[in-house]
Assembly symmetry: C2
Homo-oligomer: 336 residues x 2
């Protein structure tokens, strides 16, 4: 293993000079810089992460807390995680993956041990138990998601309330009066996961405003659960002609079941999905959808964090405006 000292010797300078070449924190003459850089290359030198962290009390690592639960929307998580990792690298940061398993203890461990310089939290609940800890530490953090109380926090999220509104407006504009919402699994609501509840708020308040009837049904993914849910919906509201789906693993089952019920999409019923564009575009019917901009969220979270670490950047709530793309799954409501 090559050390700073070896590079220094090879280049005929002192260790501190090499360090300053690397960090750029003091000016170095062009000649010396080149000599040092050449030695670094020739020896294949990589600074030792531990030593660097110890001396500078900066680990150059960002912690990413992903939910452990698998009742959640996995592809979105993965996309965010990858976006976080790829955005962090060019800024000089690596990413450690913490699963939700440890809960608040993970936050304590990270801040206490200096394992990471900053944290990104996903799967935020409205009253998340990790938040008080976050507020009482000087480690920068960004939430992907929106809790009930955001003072002193930085959050990045899709504006799910507006998303709900947008879905209802679109269906209302097409003349649908009876709308069913296929939601996430019940457990997601029981935990008071921010995005699920806020979507619902948006859906409900807009439906009320526009005088539509709205039926919300949480749904575990999968064909059987969806079959049961759908038959109950048609039992209760046979006239339902608009659907909003916010559970990826319910989408294809829903489409299959609607066919089975003899309801053509979009002639008889319209379906709006809340999911990544790729999923919407690849479904067996091209779905009108509001996109979940996973990459964008991951990227933004990192950029805010880096800004904070550099001393720029303040606490802020960034809500990305939802965009509804009309595809082939929505159309005018059938005449009553």
């Amino acid at each position: 293993m090559v050390t700073l000292a070896e590079v220094a010797q090879h280049a005929g300078v002192s260790a501190s000079t090499v360090s300053y070449v690397l960090s750029g924190k003091r000016s170095i003459s062009a000649g010396t810089r080149q000599r040092v850089e050449r030695s670094i290359r020739e020896l294949g030198y990589h600074p030792n992460a531990g030593a660097r962290a110890l001396a500078s009390s900066r680990s150059n690592i960002i912690a990413l807390m992903v939910p452990l639960r698998t009742d959640m929307y996995v592809p979105v998580m993965m996309e965010i995680a990858i976006a976080v990792a790829t955005t962090a690298r060019p800024h000089g940061y690596d990413v450690v993956l913490l699963t939700g398993e440890e809960g608040p203890d993970a936050v304590r461990r990270v801040t206490g041990s200096g394992l990471a310089d900053a944290m990104i939290l996903m799967d935020v609940e409205l009253e998340d138990e990790r938040l008080p800890l976050l507020r009482h530490t000087d480690q920068p953090s960004v939430l992907i998601g929106l809790p009930a109380e955001t003072t002193g926090l930085t959050c990045v999220d899709l504006d799910f309330t507006a998303t709900g509104t947008l879905c209802v407006q679109h269906l209302a504009g097409l003349g649908h009066r009876d709308i069913a919402v296929i939601g996430e699994a019940p457990a997601v609501y029981e935990r008071h996961t921010g995005f699920a509840e806020r979507t619902l708020d948006g859906l409900r308040s807009t439906a009320r405003e526009l005088g539509l009837r709205l039926l919300h049904r949480p749904c575990e993914g999968g064909y059987d659960a969806m079959a049961l849910t759908l038959s109950r919906i048609f039992d209760e509201r046979p006239g339902t002609s608009g659907f909003v789906v916010q559970n990826e693993s319910a989408i294809e089952p829903l489409l299959a079941l609607l066919r089975q019920w003899g309801r053509a999409v979009p002639e008889d019923v319209s379906v709006v999905a809340i999911c990544p564009d790729q999923v919407a575009a690849q479904a067996s019917v091209r779905l009108t959808s509001v996109a979940i901009p996973a990459q964008e969220m991951g990227r933004r979270a990192v950029e805010h964090l880096v800004a904070k670490l550099d001393g720029r950047g303040k606490d802020e709530v960034v809500l990305l405006g939802p965009e509804l793309t009309v595809r082939a799954s929505t159309g005018p409501a059938p005449a009553a």
Copy 2:
């Protein structure tokens, strides 16, 4: 930030004693141990990761290289990543996420900087350019996947060759003579990704053995790509009655299209999927499938790595035996 020295002072012992309480590398009297542990708790002490890494030249971090590409099977990746992270924690390791972006440089960086003690590589190609580096370092590593040449490497993977065999045997046993394979995206084969090629080997050799006709068609996921692929298959081999699918995003489109073609599953055609059990069970038809044991693979990879890090454990190739679960998507071939 609480330090070892502060804990030592609080407990009235020397720093080294506290260190030995933490590591258990020397015997400590019960009384002293308790006093120290109490101080640790009261002060909320967490050892500083950087200092520990520097002094011990052990970072207690495992690097996980995930593929950047999104043409791959994302849920499986995520499941593996989560399994890796949750298995690593109880062994005292954290996980850093490296995206494939950096390629072989990431390996150099990790080994050179002591960022991690060991690596897990995913998305292994048959002639992966990272392998030579891995062989020339003393850092333990485990591949999730199987390259062409495995000497000096430890690999964990599903036995995809046997998986292919199993799929064909199952269909052959039901009397199917004409089989179509819906494969991964063409890019996956162009990269010579291990699992894809080995599955194909298993499928082909078994088909030859049993005298079946086999048509392999790579397929980008999604409805349109699948539609095109399927119509070509029926053009070329109208009598095709057995399908093997190894591309999650082609599954639902395939099922939808088969309905559209008027081919009932499983009465007219049988479909075997290679995918996680959860996906197979939740599809619009309960799919007969060979499971991809993502969690198991992640867990095993970590356990091998930890064994190596503890000085136990040798290079070894672990191939998990495939298991085919019969569900509702396969049945006897229709009379010709």
